[in-house]
Amino acid sequence: MREVMTGNYASAYGAKLARAEVIAAYPITPQTSIVEKLADFVATGELKAQFIPVESEHSAMAACIAAQTAGARTYTATSSHGLALMHEVLTWASGARLPIVMTNVSRAMAPPWSVWVDHMDSIAQRDTGWLQFYCQSNQEVLDTIIMAYKVCESSGVMLPAMVVMDAFILSHTSEPVDIPDQALVDSFLPPYSPDLKIEVGKPMGFGSLVKPDQYMEFRYKAMLGMKASRDRFLRVEQEFKNIFGREHGGLLERYQCDDADVVLVAAGSVAATAKDVVDSMRAKGHRVGLARIRSFRPFPHDEVRALAGKVEGIAVLDRSYTFGAAGAMFTETKASAYSVQKRPVMKNYIAGLGGRDITPRILEKIFEDIQVVSKRGAEDEVEWVDVAGLPRRWR
């Protein structure tokens, strides 16, 4: 049944349909209505779950870790500084191989204070061992939460996942969302039953000290889990498509890339706008395409590499910046493209920080720029877009 709802409600419905058994969360703008809606579902009995109102995001993740260790399927949601406060326990969740699923409503970090979209919060957590999926629509948010449980809970993976959606642009935007039938979701996603869990009367050690002769093996196995999540994700999405009749493009969604001379690589909601721009530019004869990084962890290395071998120029749009380097999407895309024989020209565009609108006109200008740059090379590898005081005009 299709209903008009915000990304936050789509997120709450995703957790409900996945039958999360323990929800521990702390409210933060713009994530709050996810937690409110879930609290409502639990209070009315629509969702049979333990709802734990905690005193901080650190405690929210700690509570999810404990419950998941005891064999429960858990869910939480946060944003920005809340995610930063969780940092310590994020590594615990992945190291302990707990397939927790969390929504992060991506929001800029302060100061200066901002409640609007920016990917610095989630990008800053990329090395914590979590899978990261960036969404472009409210439907994708709901679907990805359900898929994420299935990917993460498979015995070859057993890692947590972060479903990332843009503050306000998705979280507070209402659009039609299909709420899948609970019975179908149940047939797709069986109850969580881990091989190992804390059980009364069956003593085991969890999170114990290991000496240098054992530590690396734990990390190596986590690496194998992340590696396995690539194929697992693709299989899970295929299965999802067979049951629910829709898909969202795999790890790297390619739109009009087959015959493209230049492509834009981007993540999150801006990719949806970029599809409109690709269509309007193609109508004028420009062979442009869009490649959307849907999964940042695992990174779609093979897909990016295959794409890089076919195009002359790649523009990478980052909605965050890694100080002292470049945008993270750019450095990773470039790294994947390095082993290609005939490498395309690549340029990084830093745009949309702190909720600055990325308009179709700006995206068109990025395409026009990479068309030129792909022929003669980039003078500056990284350009900040639409910043007051810089010579180039983007509007």
């Binding site: 209402s174 659009e175 039609p176 179709p360």
Partner: protein, 185 residues
């Protein structure tokens, strides 16, 4: 694609008005999207919200700069906020405006529709007498101004979103629909 911008103040239900429009257009078979721009989430502060509807799926996630329609829930915003900014030529503006009061000078290239949503909301007991919640009444007026959106789906959507006093809100929208007039400049 039809694009609509709403101007109001925190507490008047500006964001909900945009949601009512999106839900109503969706019921009529359109693809829809609505979103707020929160500046400061304070009672009384200017608030802007937006809605889009189209026959094709809506992908664009950028803001609305050239609306087809503008809805003004608080006429004190006629001073200080450029409510006509970017409005398309021939665009239509619905203003919550007291009956009989003289309009300020407005450009002739747009059409203006007036409805005293404040009095109607107050008469139906929606919100308080000093600060009535005008969003449902104004949406009745919207159905009058915009031929593409019918009154009945607006009323259905109001029933869905109204937390209390569903029928009072519906009655206010109906009355506003009847009493909305095109202004003669």
């Amino acid at each position: 694609m039809i694009e609509v911008r709403f101007h109001g103040r925190g507490g008047q239900g500006v964001v909900v008005a945009s949601e009512v429009l999106a839900k109503a257009a969706f019921k009529m078979g359109f693809e829809v999207s609505s979103f707020p721009f929160f500046g400061v989430e304070r009672r009384g502060a200017p608030v802007t919200a937006f809605a889009r509807f189209d026959e094709r799926p809506i992908r664009i996630k950028s803001s609305i700069y050239e609306p087809d329609y503008v809805v003004v829930l608080d006429n004190s915003l006629l001073r200080g906020v450029d409510i006509l900014e970017g409005l398309k030529p021939g665009g239509k503006v619905l203003i919550n405006y007291p009956a009989g009061k003289r309009l300020p000078e407005l450009p002739q290239r747009f059409k203006y529709y007036l409805i005293d949503a404040t009095s109607i909301a107050a008469a139906h007991g929606i919100g308080s007498q000093t600060a009535p919640i005008v969003n449902t009444a104004i949406m009745g007026g919207f159905a009058k101004m915009c031929e593409m959106v019918a009154l009945e789906p607006i009323l259905e959507s109001i029933r869905e979103v109204a937390p209390v006093k569903e029928e009072e809100n519906v009655a206010a929208a109906k009355e506003a629909y009847e009493r909305t007039i095109e202004a003669t400049l």
